[in-house]
Amino acid sequence: MSKRQLWIALVLVFGTSPVQAETIQVTIDKLVFSPATVEAKVGDTIKWVNKDVFAHTATVKGGWEVMIPPKATASLTLQKAEAVDYFCRFHPNMKGHLAVTAP
């Protein structure tokens, strides 16, 4: 590998990592979102892992909704900076909070 190629490779490896989007996992077990509060950046993905045998949703009042089937996962890629409370529409006693900041 020439010096120039090595340089490009280094840029690719290190230059891209700081802006790389992350996947943040939120587990649902016995009707609890865990962690209940998540801080994320625009472009990150929230992945809900539902361990319950019940269907749940992650719903923002007047906003988005993600259906999370029993024993399955569902994801949402965050599009905008916002701080929102979300809940399960089927079990409104399940609550979570999402703070999304600009990347």
Binding site: L31, F54, P70
Partner: protein, 174 residues
């Protein structure tokens, strides 16, 4: 019918707290399993009636949620009693619940349209409130097997969610 429903449970609750009768009247695990399963079945049957009768999307969706969740809880309950080799045991509380539910279904079956929606959803709020009260004050504290207790605790969270969901639907119907 509520009055009778509540009276049946109130009797159980009062008996449960009366110091002298305490030990004898505390339901056993096989009885608790039977009561919990019966309570779930009652709500599934009410849901089926609502799915068939109601023309309102919110009410039908809610009823489908009830049917799905209560079937899932009851399946877990059946799996658990099988695992624990416990035979659910019929008892006065289960019988009182079933009798009251039969009356309520007969009443609902005569209604249609907005009157049905209102009666069904209001009954769902009251019914879940009543079952949650029984779970909190009698069934969970009386359960001796840890797994049964844990399932009842999850059931309580689910039903508390249903109570709030039913209240939300009731609010939309107004």
């Amino acid at each position: 019918m509520f009055t009778r429903h509540i009276a049946a449970l109130a009797t159980v609750l009062l008996m449960g707290t009366a110091p002298l009768a305490q030990a004898a009247d505390k339901p056993t695990d096989p009885q608790i399993a039977h009561i919990a399963y019966t309570a779930g079945t009652i709500d599934i049957e009410a849901a089926k009636l609502a799915i068939k009768t109601s023309k309102t999307k919110e009410v039908v969706d809610f009823a489908k949620d009830m049917e799905r969740d209560h079937e899932a809880v009851n399946k877990q309950a059946l799996d658990l009693v099988k695992k624990l080799k416990v035979t659910p045991e019929d008892n006065a509380t289960s019988q009182a619940l079933s009798a009251a539910a039969k009356e309520e279904r007969a009443k609902l079956a005569k209604l249609e349209g907005a009157a049905f929606d209102k009666a069904y959803v209001e009954n769902e709020v009251a019914y879940h409130k009543q079952v949650n009260g029984a779970l909190e004050t009698l069934l969970i504290p009386s359960a001796s097997n840890a797994e049964l207790k844990s399932l009842l605790e999850t059931g309580l969270k689910i039903f508390q969610g249903h109570e709030q969901h039913a209240e939300h639907v009731a609010g939309m119907l107004k």
